[in-house]
Symmetry: C3
Subunit: 138 residues, 3 copies
């Protein structure tokens, strides 16, 4: 069994954003040389997500609005977590969108349906944060 590990670093200038990281994960897979196995891609921070969905700006706008409705940022005083912080809502948005994805590797490729793309979901940005890519297989 072979294994591979890399950290991807991000510094998103806004509080929230969705970034397509599929090209970076594909680059990791090429570097690994692994042909059959699984890749785990996870946020290493608890106010961020990694998820798979559509690379369509209208949908990302809808996600932003929808997450804000389900877990509003304001008023920050509604959350007990917000003592010296203001990011409790980010911990909730991340649970809905998920921490991680596991993707099959087949013949050296991400084994994806037509529209599947991997996103980094930032909910409390404006500082350096990272994503882990771990691949196991042969």
């Amino acid at each position: 069994m072979k294994s591979y590990r890399k950290e991807l670093w991000f510094k998103i200038p806004s509080r929230r954003a969705f970034i397509n990281i599929t090209p970076q994960v594909e680059e990791c897979l090429n570097e690994s040389g692994i042909q059959e196995g699984m890749v785990l891609v996870n946020a290493m921070h608890i106010t961020a997500s990694v998820f798979i969905n559509d690379d369509e700006p209208g949908l990302h706008h809808d996600y932003e609005k929808w997450l804000e409705k389900l877990a509003p940022h304001e008023p920050v005083s509604q959350y007990q977590h917000n003592v010296s912080e203001d990011n409790a809502d980010a911990h909730m948005k991340r649970q809905i969108m998920g921490r991680e994805v596991v993707v099959a590797i087949t013949k050296g490729q991400l084994d994806f349906g037509t529209w599947e793309q991997i996103f980094y979901g930032e909910f409390d940005g404006r500082r350096k944060k990272r994503v882990l890519v771990k691949i196991i297989g042969e």
Copy 2:
């Protein structure tokens, strides 16, 4: 390390449905001959889910009603994604229910608790869609 891959195809006649796919996943596992490892089961479409819960019709009715409350289909015009489509809500419902499950394989069996069953969750049906089963182990 051995690996196995299969696509399961579905054409659900309604917009939304929950289908128990545990027997098909067990058949894949038997075909693979893998005794110890992990199986990844994921929707290859971004308006569908694979999740694990109870095979109980009352609960599925409750899920349907609850998801419709959290991410309503109507009015379709509330979503920017719905330009030539009407399935933005399906992209949201899928995030709540999840894209994928990873299940342990022990002694050639799905290593499940008493009530665990694997479901395909369709949120934008009436066309052919597929699920990936990938198994790695020995």
Copy 3:
């Protein structure tokens, strides 16, 4: 490829609680002797979660309140699942928080960001329930 399996048992005296199980998962990893691979940690019950977030009591209070808003326990009669049971809401809360986590293992350690901790999320306690830890790697 090596594999390891263990069940962790819990009997939570209240209906709902969040329990940090990171030390138990680390103990499993040490017992397994696996240096590179992946660990799957999943609830074996469909009214409980395993998730990764912050070990901060204010946040856990916020999660409890937020989940109760998104999927209220009362009135129990609003759910068709609640015929001889009263736990339909627990099946919903578990979908938001998730069934499982997959964590990378690197150099014999859980490959975690600074604040990542693994939690058992109980939504229908007061009886014995269990979590599966499955590790594969080398």
